[in-house]
């Protein structure tokens, strides 16, 4: 899910950026430093939308750098266990398939794909029901439920399932 939240960060600024453009420099640096990053707690920072407040700068002993506490509003994407969302299938193999929902990768293992769907190898590997009516392949849109998340320093990986009511393919690229 996407959220609009307020985060705080201490920004260090070199004295050469001081002057009338100090605020602009600070904001530009903040965007460069923060946008596109990911933390386990807040998820992926997609975009900074505004600056809430810039506190008083504090000179660092011995270096001349100044630290400013900056509060900013941003759009973040944070997946949660138990959340249901839509995603695009990016890769299919006999272990299961990978899908993407915005910046996050979700793996759906073949144990969590309904039992009536069989893996078919070939140019376009896919999972298909025995009557051929439902097919999951690259670029299919699926609705899935996140059942687990793994967080490391710069990424969040999710495990999902489509083995539940109202989950599964929502649009088949071949028939669309």
């Amino acid at each position: 899910m996407f959220f609009h939240i307020i985060l705080e960060r201490n920004m260090q600024l070199h004295p050469r950026h001081f002057g009338r453009n100090l605020r602009d420099n600070l904001v530009a640096k903040l965007m460069k430093d923060v946008e596109g990053t990911c933390s386990g707690r807040h998820g992926f920072v997609v975009a900074i939308t505004g600056i809430e407040n810039i506190g008083k700068g504090l000179i660092r002993d011995g270096t001349g750098f100044v630290t400013f506490p900056v509060k900013y509003q941003c759009v973040v994407f944070r997946p949660f266990k138990g959340e249901i969302l839509e995603a695009v299938v990016t890769m299919v193999n006999k272990m299961g398939f990978f899908a993407e929902a915005g910046p996050v990768q979700i793996f759906v293992s073949n144990h969590l794909i309904p039992d009536d769907m069989e893996f078919q190898s070939g140019d376009m590997p896919n999972y298909t029901t025995s009557d051929g009516s439902v097919k999951i392949q690259k670029d299919s849109e699926v609705r899935l439920k996140i059942i687990g998340t793994r967080v490391d320093a710069t990424e969040i990986f999710c495990i999902g399932t489509i083995k539940d009511d109202f989950l599964g393919v929502i649009n088949d690229p071949a028939t669309a």
Partner: protein, 138 residues
């Protein structure tokens, strides 16, 4: 993080910080990101170079999965859903997935069915009807 183990969106256990935060529906994120992208385009020749991969992927994603395109419709969806005493998170799940039946809505947002919410099937049905009306008149 001690709260990590208990996280479960189906029971609205998403941590205090996110429960109180403002959630955004895909269509709202799409409006925000497109606006920002437009601003960048006016400033530089090659805006794609300026944005992070996270931004690019998110923009593609919300464009693909936005149920409502025009800003007025987006505002109306939020207004209608906010009449039903939903939390921000529930509101956005419903706005994103646009369930068609009451059973589907409850499967998508199981927390609506917890006791004491005052949300009976009739109320949910009415809510879904109101939502589908916006879709038709968009």
């Amino acid at each position: 993080m001690s709260g990590e183990e208990e996280e479960n969106a189906a029971e609205l256990k998403i941590g205090d910080e996110f429960l109180k935060a403002k959630c955004l529906m895909n269509c709202e994120v799409s409006l925000i990101l497109e606006h920002k992208y437009e601003q960048l385009r006016q400033m530089s020749e090659d805006p794609l170079n300026q944005v992070s991969q996270v931004f690019e992927k998110s923009l593609q994603y919300v464009k693909r999965f936005s149920r409502y395109k025009n800003p007025d419709a987006v505002r109306q969806v939020r207004e209608i859903l906010s009449r039903y005493h939903l939390t921000e998170f529930e509101l956005c799940v419903l706005g994103n997935l646009c369930p068609e039946t009451v059973e589907e809505a409850i499967a998508m947002v199981p927390s609506m069915k917890t006791k004491g919410r005052g949300l009976d099937e009739e109320a949910i049905e009415k809510m879904l009807n109101d939502l589908s009306l916006i879709k038709t008149f968009e």
